[in-house]
């Protein structure tokens, strides 16, 4: 029987939406083509998540209990151990979430296994003639879809893009086998070499209901005060921006919205001074209502916005602040 390894994650015992999507795709492969689903969980405090996994349709569960420092960085020897483990399992397909952990881990594992890896895939296609799984992802700055084949090696490896959808997962019919492989994968570490410092301010771009997006139209870092004030008046809307603003060090890295940053799923997105590059648009395509403010009436963001306001972004922001009851700045 063909095997499918899925590397999934949880938050407080509940699968992340990215993991739910992978479980859903895996169950489709099982149902239609008879794949055996092997779930691999490498996390801290996974007990309740494993209990949850027992209730849905997976065939085997392998788990690695990480501590805080393992989670952040895998040592080279630990990656070698993981590669040995995967060689033994010998799966046809291996998928992982598109989290920062697997975006680093999977290229290393794929290189060691001498196989192909497709990054940030949105879907798969089953090739009936060859019986192979091909992966689908966007290319050329989000302007086209490509179907990619891993044609001469196994497993077909891919990281799967999060789409924040809702998935009805099949309940399990048989009790899955559960294996603890922590000792097999992890080394006892000299923890002196790694120090964890204060937590960064966490920014919930992907969970906020209202997001303010800033583009290159912003003049200076000090102008952020204006938009922070607007954010407070909009129920503490999250503030994000384009890659240019990260490069100009006006916003920190974790505020980047777009194909190389965070995908947002807000109810309302207000884009100030954003031209609308395909990379940025990919980040906001799941937003329910897009409002664009730009002084260029031909800015391409207007084609994809629900409401377009042609005007100076500062004037519009000041107007909104006044309207919402704040004083003009």
């Amino acid at each position: 029987m063909k095997k499918l390894c899925i590397f999934i994650e949880h938050k407080d015992g509940v699968p992340t939406s990215n993991s739910q999507k992978i479980l859903y795709m895996a169950q489709m492969l099982k149902k239609q083509y008879g794949y055996r689903i092997i779930a691999i969980v490498m996390e801290q405090n996974s007990e309740s998540f494993i209990e949850y996994l027992k209730t849905i349709e997976v065939d085997e569960i392998y788990f690695v209990t990480l501590n805080e420092k393992n989670k952040l960085l895998f040592l080279k020897e630990e990656i070698d151990n993981l590669v040995c483990f995967l060689k033994e399992i010998n799966p046809e397909v291996a998928w992982a979430t598109n989290s920062s952990c697997y975006r680093i881990l999977f290229p290393k594992v794929a290189y060691s296994l001498h196989t192909g890896l497709c990054a940030a895939c949105s879907d798969f296609k089953y090739d009936e003639d060859s019986g192979r799984i091909n992966m689908v992802r966007t290319v050329f700055s989000n302007n086209a879809y490509a179907q990619i084949s891993v044609h001469r090696s196994r497993p077909v490896m891919a990281t799967i893009l999060d789409e924040k959808g809702t998935y009805n997962l099949e309940r399990n019919l048989t009790f899955p086998e559960i294996h603890d492989i922590t000792d097999r994968i992890l080394l006892i570490r000299d923890n002196q070499a790694i120090k964890i410092m204060k937590e960064l301010e966490s920014i919930n771009l992907d969970k906020s209901q209202i997001v303010i997006g800033l583009g290159n139209g912003i003049h200076d870092k000090s102008d952020m005060d204006l938009f922070e004030k607007l954010s407070r008046l909009l129920n503490h809307a999250a503030i994000g921006g384009t890659r240019e603003l990260i490069n100009r060090q006006i916003l920190p890295q974790n505020c980047q919205i777009g194909s190389t940053g965070t995908q947002i799923f807000a109810d309302i997105y207000i884009g100030f001074g954003i031209s609308g590059s395909p990379q940025h648009m990919q980040g906001i395509e799941h937003v329910k209502k897009i409002i664009a403010v730009n002084n260029d009436p031909y800015a391409s963001i207007f084609q994809h916005a629900d409401y377009g306001i042609v005007g100076d972004m500062y004037e519009v922001a000041n107007y909104m602040i006044n309207y919402l009851g704040g004083k003009d700045t």
Partner: protein, 259 residues
């Protein structure tokens, strides 16, 4: 003691679309912006600790004039790995070729710096695969690099944590932004000097590997179909030109239900 920086020359696809003739030259290419930020880190380390800086690029021969421009940023050696047999490399074959180049010619490096991903493919796989090819550790999202008693002390951001590591061995770091309080602009003198400097060209033969293991033949993935993506056009009404009266009405529509 030197630092290697990987700099990719990416193609300007929009420019290509607009062109009618096939005279595409190096003007169609530019340095991947985040790779230049990796270069800024290297130049800062050069200034602080006296490292030499070598850039390596892999691409067609017409990228040569772009690669030469890297001298204007103050790099000591600029190398271009170019060969027809390397064309069509996927991330695996690219990492393998760069790994062999470094192993054969630049194995005494202290650190390799890369941008986290390129504008054209955005996979972000090559740096970590390259680290695997060379058997070194790799760290992402670097915010600080210091040299202390023959060790590198690197600080990186991982999810919501900031982590400081001390690394005795060689290492590879990827960056998403340049060093704070340091800007690496081309200097006039370096721009003039760069014109007389030569880019070192190496080919796949110099890698001392068989043709079957590099380029398209050495790749494990291939694109089997491409189709254009159609964006959802949401437009329901004309843009409004900003005025207080119009905005008042719009604000109610936009925010009325949400607040």
């Amino acid at each position: 003691m030197y630092i290697i920086v990987c700099v990719k020359q990416v193609k300007n696809y929009n420019l290509e679309k607009r062109k009618t003739s096939a005279n595409s030259g190096s003007n169609d290419m530019f340095h991947n912006p985040v790779d230049l930020m990796a270069l800024a880190w290297a130049m800062k380390l050069k200034q602080m600790y006296g490292f030499k800086v070598i850039t390596i690029s892999m691409g067609p021969l017409n990228a040569k004039s772009q690669v030469r421009l890297l001298y204007s940023y103050g790099v000591d050696r600029a190398v271009l790995l170019s060969s027809k047999t390397l064309a069509g490399s996927d991330t695996y074959a690219t990492s393998y070729a760069l790994g062999e180049l470094i192993r054969n010619y630049f194995s005494d490096y202290s650190m390799i710096l890369c941008g986290d991903k390129t504008l054209d493919s955005e996979t972000g796989q090559v740096p970590h695969s390259l680290a695997m090819a060379l058997g070194v550790s790799s760290y992402s999202n670097i915010v600080e690099i210091l040299r202390k008693e023959d060790c590198f002390e690197v600080t990186c951001e991982v999810e919501s944590d900031r982590v400081k590591m001390t690394e005795k061995d060689k290492l590879l770091c990827t960056v998403t932004q340049g060093p704070k309080d340091y800007v690496n602009l081309p200097a006039i003198k370096n721009i003039i000097d760069s014109e007389s400097k030569e880019v070192e060209i190496l080919t796949s033969k110099d890698l001392k590997v068989k043709d079957e293991v590099v380029g398209q033949k050495g790749s494990y993935t291939k694109v089997i179909s491409l189709h254009e993506k159609n964006f959802v056009t949401r437009r329901k009404q004309q843009n409004i030109v900003f005025s207080e009266e119009k905005m008042g009405m719009l604000m109610k529509v936009i925010l009325g239900e949400s607040l």
